[in-house]
Symmetry: C2
Subunit: 205 residues, 2 copies
């Protein structure tokens, strides 16, 4: 990793812990292993570092979204994989999603940074809602739509069913972001949530 990338990396770490205003250019420089003035050879000013983080994370999320869309569309053609969607498989999927979002450094730090900065600018509020409200509901809603078609889930309101699946997961994610020591407790609750979800919405044949 070159210096310019390392600056973004360390800045993200600090912003996610203290928020933009409480991080000083000198703090970032120290972590990178340079002095504050050297940092201005890489970025015009402190705000430019923040903006570069947003741009870089947007790039990554778009890349990821594209990959998921392809997966989703491929899966749609093969309804068989949904027909065989047992409770165990739903559990595995839920846990993987949860643990990935929780433990992936970029995801966790960026989410925490946006949590702190979401009220500061309209753009950031929209970014937060896109990433943690609308995109997940839309993507998971699509998958659940397939499952309803395939007959493994049953509902007359896919949107609310998706909300019932995702909102508790989001809720537990925010608890772990705030209090990482509660992760074991939340993992247990996550399993109980998915099992109950499957019993409520599954065909249970």
């Amino acid at each position: 990793m070159n210096t310019k990338e390392k600056i973004l990396d360390e800045a993200l770490t600090l912003f996610s812990e203290k928020g933009y205003a409480n991080v000083f250019v000198g703090d970032i420089a120290e972590r990178v292993g340079i002095k504050a003035p050297s940092l201005y050879k890489h970025y015009k000013n402190k705000q430019a570092i923040f903006d570069a983080i947003i741009d870089e994370m947007n790039r990554r999320f778009e890349e990821q979204a594209k990959a998921m869309q392809i997966n989703g569309n491929d899966a749609a053609k093969d309804a068989g994989i949904y027909k065989s969607m047992s409770e165990d498989r739903l559990l595995k999927l839920g846990r993987e999603f949860f643990l990935y979002y929780l433990h992936d450094d970029y995801n966790r730090k960026f989410r925490k940074m946006l949590t702190i900065e979401q009220f500061h600018e309209k753009d950031l509020a929209e970014e937060y809602s896109k990433l943690y409200v609308d995109d997940p509901l839309s993507y998971q809603g699509m998958l659940f739509g397939f499952m309803v078609t395939a007959g493994v889930l049953k509902t007359d309101n896919v949107q609310v069913m998706t909300l019932h699946f995702y909102a508790p997961i989001y809720f537990m994610l925010t608890v772990c972001d705030r209090q990482p020591e509660r992760e074991p407790e939340m993992l247990k609750l996550l399993d109980a949530h998915i099992i109950q979800f499957d019993r409520l919405y599954g065909r249970n044949e």
Copy 2:
């Protein structure tokens, strides 16, 4: 309202919009209608204002919690009010809870302030989780426990049922805090959520 109270009030408003670090003592003073140095006759320093907000809000929440506990216990003795808990009544209760938390100035501003500051100190993380995770789950879990006993709701896991009711409400609350223009959309979704919740968990006799 005297000056000392007005300082707390204006500080809370500013902290909830910009976060502690982005609010300057002069900003608070200006809103109160005095100059910055005068403010130091009322509070030792900026941090003392923040601490006083926390203390004052804790006092209010404890007061409120005490009142709710009394209501809850009284209600427990009168199981009849749960037996007659129709879908319409559940809807009304859900909406009232949601709109109160969303529109009550102290609630909304304090929640936003804690959202911004939750990662800054362990105490604040615990405060946030107490107010918006554990206390609501515990209180609503108690009410739902009564309803299960009364036979209007049916489940073998009250904890997860409570999570299924509360997490979507919390989720929609955070959306409205971030993007108040989405309130109508969220109110519609709230109704759909509660109706579906009632159909999933209600006895539907």
